[in-house]
C-alpha cells in the first residue's frame, strides 16, 4: 500500500504480514543454478571439471580397488599384475610399518601406549566429556611418564630397556607429532607474551629467538639440535638420539606458534586489557583468564595450520637417522622379496593416505571447535 501522492501525511492501518520466501530460491535445482551454471563461463567450467573428474577418478579407483592385489605370500603375484596396487605388501609389512624394529615380544607396550594416548586424546577433545580437568591432568602429567616408562622400559618393573635405535614406524611419527604439539603451544604462548612484554630484556630475548629460528630452514634446526645440543649440556650427559630432533621440532614449531599467538593478542581490543586492569586483576590472571582465552580462539585456524605443518614436518626427522613412518615405508619397499614396479606407488599412496587422514581430522576438528567457541563472540 503506497502513500497517496496528494497528501504529505500517511498512517498505517494494518501491519504487513511476514511472507514465506519464494520457492525458486530454495532446493537443489536453485542451488545448482546459482553455484554451477550462473553464467556461460561458469557453466563451461563446471562441464570441464566434470569431464576432468570422470577422466581421472575411475582409473585411480580401479587401480586401488578392482585391479589391486589384496593378498599374496610374496611379490610374485604383484609383479604379474602391474596395473593394480599391491595391498598385500602393506598387509604383510603392517607390523614393521607400525613398530619399526621394536622387539616383537615387547610390541604390546607400544600398542598399550597408543590406546592410552588415543583414549586420553578423545577424552580431552570430546566436546561433552566430563571432568576434562582430570583428563588434562592425566594427559599432560601422568601420560608422558607412563608412555616413557612403557616405551623406553624400566628393568625393575620387568620392562626391558628398548633403545631408541630400534624405534620406528607409525608410533615414532605419533610420538614426534604429539611431543611437538604439546610442548610448542605453551612455549609459543610464552614467547608471544615475551615479545609483547614491557621488560626490554625479555622482549629482546624473545625477538632474537623467534627471528633466528624462523630465519633458518627446519632441516638446519634438526642438524643443529642433533649436533649442537650435546655441546650445551654438561660433559658425559649425552642426550638420546631421538630426543635431539624432538627438541628441535619443539623449538622450531614454537617460533611459528609465537607469531600466530601474537597476532591474536594484537587483534584483541585494548578495552579488554583495561577492563581487566580496572577490576584489579594482575598481569598473570589478566592474561590467563581474559586475554589468552580470547586471543587463542581467534587464532585457532593458524594454530591448527601449524599443527598440520608440524605433523607433516615430522617426516624430516628421517634426515638425522630417525625411522619415522615414511622412512620405514621407504625401507620396506626395498625388500627384495616384494620388489616390483607396483610396490613403491602402493607404499607411497598408503603413506599419503595416512598423513591425509590425520591432517584432515585435525582440520575438521578445528573447524568444529571454532564454531563452538565462537558462540560467545557472536554479536
Amino acid at each position: 500500500m503506497a502513500a497517496p501522492a496528494n497528501s504529505a501525511a500517511w498512517v498505517r492501518t494494518r501491519s504487513e504480514p511476514a511472507l514465506p520466501a519464494p520457492l525458486f530460491s530454495r532446493g537443489a535445482f536453485a542451488w545448482a543454478r546459482a553455484n554451477l551454471f550462473s553464467s556461460l563461463s561458469s557453466s563451461l567450467l563446471t562441464i570441464l571439471m566434470l569431464a576432468l573428474a570422470l577422466w581421472c577418478a575411475p582409473p585411480l579407483i580401479e587401480w586401488a580397488t578392482v585391479k589391486a592385489i589384496w593378498s599374496a605370500p610374496d611379490g610374485a603375484t604383484c609383479r604379474a599384475h602391474q596395473d593394480g596396487a599391491c595391498w598385500a605388501f602393506i598387509a604383510h609389512k603392517i607390523n614393521y610399518l607400525r613398530y619399526g624394529s621394536y622387539p616383537v615380544t615387547e610390541r604390546w607396550r607400544v600398542g598399550l601406549t597408543e590406546i592410552l594416548g588415543a583414549s586420553l586424546t578423545v577424552w580431552l577433545l570430546w566436546p561433552g566429556a566430563r571432568h576434562r580437568d582430570i583428563g588434562a591432568g592425566l594427559f599432560f602429567l601422568v601420560f608422558p611418564i607412563v608412555a616413557f616408562v612403557l616405551l623406553v622400559g624400566w628393568e625393575s618393573l620387568g620392562l626391558s630397556h628398548v633403545d631408541t635405535l630400534l624405534w620406528g614406524g607409525v608410533f615414532v611419527t605419533l610420538v614426534t607429532a604429539l611431543v611437538g604439539i604439546v610442548f610448542s603451544l605453551p612455549l609459543g604462548v610464552l614467547l608471544a607474551l615475551g615479545r609483547r612484554s614491557h621488560l626490554p630484556v625479555v622482549r629482546l630475548a624473545s625477538v632474537i629467538f623467534i627471528e633466528f629460528v624462523r630465519g633458518v630452514p627446519f632441516i638446519t634446526v634438526l642438524f643443529m639440535a642433533n649436533n649442537m645440543l650435546p655441546l650445551f649440556l654438561p660433559a658425559g650427559w649425552e642426550p638420546d638420539r631421538f630426543m635431539r630432533p624432538l627438541v628441535g621440532i619443539v623449538l622450531f614449531s614454537a617460533a611459528y606458534m609465537a607469531e600466530e599467538v601474537r597476532g591474536g593478542l594484537q587483534s584483541l581490543p585494548g578495552g579488554q586489557y583495561e577492563g581487566a586492569m580496572a577490576l584489579g586483576l594482575h598481569y598473570r590472571n589478566m592474561m590467563r583468564l581474559v586475554v589468552l582465552p580470547q586471543a587463542l580462539v581467534l587464532v585457532i585456524p593458524g594454530i591448527v595450520n601449524n599443527f598440520i605443518g608440524l605433523f607433516k614436518d615430522t617426516t624430516l626427522v628421517a634426515i638425522v637417522g630417525i625411522n619415522d613412518f615414511l622412512a620405514t615405508m621407504d625401507n620396506a619397499t626395498k625388500d627384495t622379496i616384494w620388489s616390483g614396479p607396483t610396490i613403491q606407488p602402493t607404499g607411497y599412496a598408503f603413506a599419503a593416505l595416512f598423513y591425509f587422514v590425520f591432517c584432515y581430522a585435525m582440520s575438521r576438528y578445528s573447524a568444529s571447535m571454532e564454531r563452538r567457541l565462537g558462540q560467545g563472540r557472536r554479536r
Binding site: 583495561e274 581487566a276 580496572a278 584489579g280 581474559v290 580470547q294 567457541l373 560467545g376 557472536r378
Partner: protein
C-alpha cells in the same frame, strides 16, 4: 579525608599537554559530573584515578593512598575503585555471571559460591538477573552497560568512575543506564561521571566540573552551573549543547 585528591596534576601524551595543573577534591559520597568538549582531557582525568593513565607531575590520592609507580598501591586503589567504560569492556568469552564473579574470586579471593550470590544480588539490582547465564553478545547495549555496572559493584568499591557510559548506546537505551546510575547515587556512592547527559548532571550531581583544553575551567553546583555560568568558555559550551 577526601575520597579523591588531585593536587597540581600534569600529564603529557608525548609532547601534548593533556592535563594542566589539575586541582580537585572529591568528598566521600559526593557525585561529580565532568563535562567539556571532546579532547578536553575529561576521560584522561578519571583514568588517572585508577592509574589506567599515569600522571607525570603533581599528586593524586585515592582513599588516602598516593598513586605512584608502586604496584602494590595501584592494586590497592584498583580494588576500591570501580570503573564503567563507554565500550562496556565486558569479557565476551564469559557469561554475564562469570563476568561478575571473575574479579571477586581472583582478586578478593572470595569462594565461588559466595561470589555468585553477590553477583546475583547486583544483577538483580541492575534488573537483569534472568540474563545471568547468557553471553554479553546476546544482550542489548543498555543491558551490557548495566552488567558492566553490576560487575564493578561486585568488588564493593568505595568509588565509581563512569567514562561516558551512555555515549555508545542507542537513544532508547540511555534511560535505563542513567536510571541505574541515579539509584546508585541515591545510595550514597562516591561517583565521578564523565558524560554529555546534562539532564543527569542537573538532577544527580553535587558539583559539575567543566574542562576545556586540559584544564578545569569552572566547578559549580548544577543550579548555578546551568543557570548562571561564570566563565565565558562555560557559557559558550553550554550554548552549544543546550539549544
Amino acid at each position: 579525608m577526601n575520597a579523591i585528591e588531585f593536587v597540581g596534576v600534569h600529564k603529557w601524551f608525548g609532547s601534548f599537554h593533556v592535563l594542566r595543573n589539575i586541582d580537585l577534591e572529591v568528598r566521600p559520597g559526593e557525585r561529580i559530573v565532568v563535562c567539556g568538549p571532546s579532547g578536553s582531557g575529561k576521560s584522561t582525568l578519571i583514568r588517572c584515578v585508577n592509574r589506567l593513565e599515569e600522571h607525570q607531575r603533581g599528586t593524586i590520592r585515592v582513599d588516602g593512598i598516593e598513586l605512584t609507580a608502586d604496584v602494590k598501591r595501584i592494586d590497592e586503589v584498583r580494588r576500591e575503585v570501580g570503573m564503567v567504560f563507554q565500550q562496556f569492556n565486558l569479557f565476551p568469552h564469559l557469561t554475564i555471571l562469570e563476568n561478575c564473579t571473575l574479579a571477586p574470586i581472583w582478586v578478593r579471593k572470595m569462594p565461588r559460591r559466595e561470589a555468585e550470590e553477590v553477583a546475583m544480588r547486583f544483577l538483580g539490582r541492575v534488573k537483569i538477573p534472568e540474563q545471568a547465564h547468557k553471553y554479553p553478545g546476546q544482550l542489548s547495549g543498555g543491558q551490557q552497560q548495566r552488567v558492566a555496572i553490576a560487575r564493578a559493584l561486585c568488588m564493593s568499591p568505595k568509588i565509581m568512575l563512569f567514562d561516558e557510559p551512555t555515549s555508545s548506546l542507542d537513544p532508547e537505551m540511555v534511560k535505563e543506564v542513567l536510571d541505574t546510575m541515579t539509584s546508585l547515587a541515591q545510595d550514597g556512592m562516591t561517583m565521578i561521571v564523565v558524560t554529555h547527559e546534562m539532564g543527569f548532571a542537573r538532577q544527580v550531581a553535587d558539583r559539575v566540573v567543566f574542562m576545556d583544553q586540559g584544564e578545569i575551567v569552572e566547578i559549580n553546583a548544577p543550579a548555578e552551573f546551568f543557570g548562571a555560568p561564570k566563565h565565558e568558555r562555560t557559557k559558550a559550551f553550554l550554548s552549544q549543547i543546550l539549544r
